[in-house]
Amino acid sequence: MGRSGRPVARPSGARAVRTLLTDPVLPVAALAIAAIAAALYAPMLTWAITGGLAGYSLSGSV
């Protein structure tokens, strides 16, 4: 529901794909998978990925 009490219109078609691909959770999910893979095979890359997670966690910071 929107702030006015009306249901929020769901995006459709290309807009829905764009919304999905730019979802704020998507980088966390991608970096999580990358962090696990890197921890197993490329320890130095793990530092970069966890650094990325730390940087992205500040999304709410101004």
């Binding site: 807009r15 764009r18 919304t19 691909l21 730019t22 979802d23 704020p24 959770v25 998507l26 980088p27 966390v28 970096l31 999580a32 962090a35 696990i36 890197a38 921890a39 197993l40 320890p43 130095m44 890359l45 793990t46 530092w47 970069a48 990925i49 966890t50 650094g51 990325g52 997670l53 730390a54 940087g55 992205y56 966690s57 500040l58 999304s59 709410g60 910071s61 101004v62």
Partner: protein, 157 residues
């Protein structure tokens, strides 16, 4: 990068500690960070919680952008809304003296920080994106700290 460089310089002080102890400390701090983000741990962490004034950019665009980037990137004047950067700072500090982890973490941090405005712009609807972010931010910050703890379990061996 600058903050990571300073932390790397200080990391030499902790090299006498055995690797297992350093690894344990990194994991412990990352877990504490996750608990803090969940709200189960009340802990004040050092920060200069002030917003960078907009007139920084109005005075001179190029110099203002540099100052804005410096203050936001290093955290000398900004609201630090998550605990994961502190966990990462401790991880670099206890990384063992080589410059490579600090360099990688610094580059990653900068890229991660830049992801937010990039995604918001790419979404085409900044306000909707902000709403989505506000709803998911707590879960995201907890997950980030938990992932740093998980990665630390295997990286420093």
């Amino acid at each position: 990068m600058l903050t990571a460089g300073v932390l790397w310089l200080l990391s030499g002080l902790f090299t006498p500690l055995p690797a297992d102890v350093r690894q344990g400390l990194i994991v412990a701090v990352a877990l504490l960070a996750a608990l803090r983000d969940v709200g189960k741990l009340s802990l004040r962490l050092p920060q200069n919680a002030r917003q960078i004034p907009q007139d920084v950019l109005r005075r001179h665009l190029a110099r203002g952008a540099l100052q804005f980037g410096f203050e936001l990137g290093t955290g000398v004047r900004t609201y630090v809304s998550a605990s994961a950067p502190y966990a990462m700072a401790v991880a670099v500090l206890l990384s063992g003296g080589s410059y490579a982890p600090a360099l990688a973490a610094g580059l990653g941090f900068g890229a991660g920080r830049a992801l937010t405005p990039a995604l918001r712009r790419l979404s085409g609807d900044g306000e909707r994106w902000d709403d989505l972010l506000a709803r998911r931010l707590t879960g995201m910050t907890v997950l980030c700290s938990a992932l740093i703890a998980t990665a630390a379990c295997s990286t420093l061996r």
